[in-house]
């Protein structure tokens, strides 16, 4: 990315920018838009690719609560896999969705009962919680099944997910960020 007009002429550079914008002909404008579309598509492809490779519908998730402290804190990023042949075993950290709720929960498996035919039912609990998750499950539901699992936590990065949380809690910040990014990409010129 090169910025037109270097060093020292800040006010002048801004004026140059808008001047450039007005002088841009149609072809350049289309080019900029296509460039922008390429970036968005590439990001989307990478995300979809990750979904395919990991087998999980949401391979990267942000921890929202403190129920798994001190291992994971709010704002940590988790990397998930959800391979079909991976059995669910006690001690594993799973991310699951309760039927009817949008928000996935990341807790640890503490009980597993598996039948000969592969049918599994399991119970989870947050490390930092006193009781197991039965209170979080659906009314009358006592166990989770494989279909409720979004993925198993395989790796993690601390703090990085805070950006997502901030964007969620302060939508104005999200729009401002998007506007800045959009403007930057649209106005960037190959020098």
């Amino acid at each position: 990315l090169c910025w037109p007009g270097s060093g020292g002429i800040r006010g002048g550079a801004a004026m140059d920018l808008f001047g450039d914008l007005r002088r841009m002909n149609k072809r350049q404008l289309y080019y900029q838009v296509l460039n922008f579309a390429m970036i968005v598509s590439s990001a989307l492809m990478i995300w979809k690719g990750l979904i395919v490779v990991t087998g999980s519908e949401s391979p990267i998730v942000v921890v929202l609560s403190g129920s798994m402290e001190p291992a994971f804190h709010r704002g940590d990023l988790l990397f998930l896999t959800n391979f079909h042949d991976d059995p669910i075993r006690a001690g594993e950290i799973v991310v699951f969705k309760v039927e009817g709720r949008d928000i996935p929960i990341v807790h640890r498996v503490i009980k597993v009962h598996e039948k000969g035919n592969g049918n599994i039912k399991f119970l989870t609990k947050g490390d930092n919680n006193e009781v197991d998750d039965r209170g979080l499950y659906k009314e009358g539901q006592n166990w989770l099944e494989k279909k409720d699992v979004v993925g198993r936590a395989r790796g993690f990065l601390p703090y990085v997910g805070m950006v997502t949380i901030i964007m969620n809690d302060y939508p104005k910040f999200k729009y401002a960020l998007l506007a800045v990014m959009g403007a930057y990409v649209l106005l960037k010129r190959e020098s």
Binding site: P70, A71, F72, R89, A90, G91, E92, I93, R108, I110, K111, V112, H113, E114, K115, G116, K121, D127, D132, A153, R154, G155, F156, L157, P158
Partner: protein, 150 residues
């Protein structure tokens, strides 16, 4: 790495409830981190390196019943932070969580295997699950206890 001692059982309505008392002697410092020794010139691998924030230890009971081919129940867990004493010597511990079976598979079950495992939580990176070496098989008696001695 570990030793255990076991006890008895009791029924609760329709599912068996087991009571186990145990001792744990473990030396985690020299335990395996990724399930295999990666240094061949040393016999041990120090587990608490710069990238390990904590270990989540848990004692799980694994067994088969008529109802279910595989059952795993976590009986006890502990968080061991970097800096904590890595040698555990706990005696006469009661299980933290109720050892309910899904059905009545504990009565007369001769082979309940207790293993100590841990989840390595790094400062950043992969989250491996490791099983400690050494496990103990515990049989449950054929009859239920009616006295509340737990």
């Amino acid at each position: 790495l570990r030793k255990n001692v076991e006890d008895f059982t009791g029924p609760r309505e329709r599912s068996d409830l087991g009571f186990v008392t145990f001792d744990i002697t473990a030396d985690i410092l020299n335990g395996k981190k990724f399930g295999l020794q990666t240094f061949w010139n040393k016999n041990t691998l120090i587990i608490f390196d710069w990238n390990v924030k904590q270990l989540f230890l848990y004692l799980s009971a694994e067994y088969s019943t008529k109802n279910n081919a595989l059952n795993q129940v976590v009986l006890w867990d502990k968080i061991m932070l970097r800096g904590d004493n890595p040698r555990l010597s706990l005696k006469d511990m009661k299980s933290k969580y109720f050892f309910f079976d899904d059905g009545n598979g504990l009565k007369g079950n001769r082979n309940i295997t207790l293993t100590l495992s841990w989840n390595v939580v790094p400062n950043a990176g992969i989250l491996p699950l490791v099983t400690g070496s050494g496990h103990v098989s515990v049989p449950f008696p054929d009859t239920y206890e009616t006295t509340k001695s737990y």
